[in-house]
């Protein structure tokens, strides 16, 4: 459980730095529901502190979301992000972990859906600096492409300046699985509804990081934008 929490709905700071003291736990939850803004956030995570970041970017619009976690010795960072880029959205989401200290850990899980004439980039860098021995970093980005006119780029990056570390990344871009759709449709569910069920399920992992009241608003935003 987090000692400190901050939840921001539609109201992102243009620029902000959060300092997380040694051993502290911090949860930052950001959601765009009606209005997509750009933001640049730096999280300075001190020794043995941990940060959970939840991002739910569902509003139609343009924005660059750039979040960097700077991790000291033994610090940890877990980011879960769900993005919908629908209508004529243009979203770029960069989630980076900079490992300054040894034995620091980072896991970044980004998922996105791009539809209509939208553009979506999910990227970020797992950077293990010289001296950060036993650091462990993982970057994942997955995008489901709905329509032919979309642009999607899932491109996590690793930079490793130290030996004796663990680093991995994974990315995937693709259409909704045809056989998944067929399975649902064969039970009587129309294609549109089937797509909605499959994709909202895909975006759900971010929900538990929000309060119940906020989750209701997020669900509404998913329904509205898919």
């Amino acid at each position: 459980m987090a000692d400190k929490r901050l939840s921001l709905l539609d109201d992102f700071p243009e620029e902000a730095t959060y300092e997380i003291g040694p051993g502290e736990c911090f949860r930052l939850s950001l959601a765009s529901l009606n209005n997509q803004k750009s933001t640049h956030i730096v999280l300075r995570v001190a020794e043995n502190a941990s940060v959970e970041l939840a991002l739910a970017l569902f509003a139609e619009g343009k924005g660059v979301i750039n979040i960097e976690a700077i991790l000291e010795e033994g610090a940890s960072f877990h980011a879960v992000a769900s993005t919908i880029a629908s209508g004529a959205s243009d979203k770029k989401v960069y989630l980076s972990a900079i490992h300054e200290g040894g034995s620091s850990k980072a896991l970044v899980e980004s998922r996105g859906i791009v539809a209509g004439k939208s553009r979506l980039t999910l990227s970020g860098t797992g950077h293990i600096k010289h001296g950060a021995k036993k650091a462990n970093t993982r970057q994942e980005a997955r995008i489901i492409v709905f329509d032919k006119g979309c642009f999607a780029s899932a491109s996590p990056i690793l930079k490793i300046d130290e030996n004796d570390v663990m680093a991995s990344h994974g990315s995937a871009e693709g259409m909704v699985d045809e056989q998944h759709l067929f399975y649902l449709e064969s039970r009587g569910i129309p294609e549109k509804e089937a797509r909605r069920l499959i994709t909202s399920g895909y975006l759900l992992p971010v929900l538990p990081y929000f309060s119940e009241e906020e989750q209701a608003k997020l669900n509404e935003a998913i329904e509205r934008n898919l």
């Binding site: 699985d177 045809e178 056989q179 998944h180 067929f182 399975y183 649902l184 449709e185 064969s186 039970r187 009587g188 569910i189 129309p190 294609e191 509804e193 089937a194 069920l197 499959i198 909202s200 399920g201 895909y202 975006l203 759900l204 992992p205």
Partner: protein, 275 residues
């Protein structure tokens, strides 16, 4: 009573015909054992009837009670009363099983089910197939064992109460207990007036659900039709005699007898006779 008529059906995957002019008619009072060597079109037939986009229809006609079936989307076919229990059901991450079943049941109704109606129907169906109700909270087929997936398909058949159910190797990967549960559910569904096309390599299932007809598919056509005695004959003699008696050439090398036991084996890859 409903009737499906398949006339001269030609279908397959891009660039390859698998069904080559298949004819078959059946009623919702029929339970048909669909047999034939691997790769000759059994699964393709079931997939084409349900509208799997993997397959292309090259020609021919399929009607249900005189109405064209092939122009309908899979969800429309489901609403006409068709159901396909898949050989390998998809795992859908993030989709809660109970939510999916509710959406499927509601798609077949004018007025959506209430929470309590849904709950009761699901609970009864889970009891019938011997799976803990707790499983309804899990994601659809995600991390389910092979046997759980198969039972889950039968669960959906019970919930949707179709006019016609097509079962594609529903018994592969089932242990003896599960096979008994699945056969009992099929028999109850027969009593409710559902017609069946059952694809299986194992005689054991047919002993329990007692098909009234047999259709043998060879090289994309129904090579021979008959009563339950035909399934028995293939179980004991294999497919070789079809070639000898009817002069139909069976191209594939994996022609074989039906296997009498299905415990823990995969029907596609394992030859229980050790040949």
């Amino acid at each position: 009573m409903s009737t499906i008529v398949i006339e001269n059906l030609e279908a397959g995957i891009p660039g390859k015909k698998i069904l080559k002019g298949l004819n078959l008619s059946f009623d919702s009072t029929d339970t048909i054992a669909v047999l034939g060597p691997n790769g000759h079109g059994k699964s393709t037939l079931l997939g084409v009837l349900m509208g799997n986009p993997r397959y292309i229809v090259y020609g021919g006609k399929v009607t249900i009670d005189g109405e064209d079936l092939l122009s309908l989307t899979p969800d429309q076919r489901s609403k006409k009363g068709l159901f396909l229990a898949m050989q390998t059901p998809s795992e859908i991450p993030g989709l809660n099983s109970a939510d999916f079943y509710k959406a499927a049941m509601n798609a077949h109704r004018e007025k959506p089910l209430t929470f309590f109606e849904t709950y009761r129907l699901l609970q009864d169906a889970y009891r019938e197939i011997g799976i803990p109700f707790e499983m309804s909270k899990r994601n659809l087929n995600e991390g389910f064992s092979g046997g759980e997936k198969k039972r889950n398909e039968i669960l959906q058949m019970i919930l949707l109460n179709p006019k016609f159910a097509f079962l594609d190797e529903i018994d592969s990967g089932l242990d003896v207990d599960a096979l008994n549960v699945v056969s009992a559910a099929i028999n109850r569904q027969k009593e409710k007036g559902t017609g069946f096309l059952i694809v299986s390599h194992y005689d054991r299932l047919f002993e329990m659900v007692k098909p009234n007809k047999t259709a043998v598919i060879v090289d994309g056509r129904v090579a021979v039709q008959g009563g339950p005695e035909l399934a028995k004959r293939i179980d004991t003699q294999g497919y070789e005699w079809i070639k000898d008696e009817l002069g139909i050439e069976i191209e594939k090398s994996d022609e074989r007898k039906m296997n009498s036991v299905s415990i823990g084996t995969c029907a596609v890859k394992v030859d229980a006779n050790g040949r």
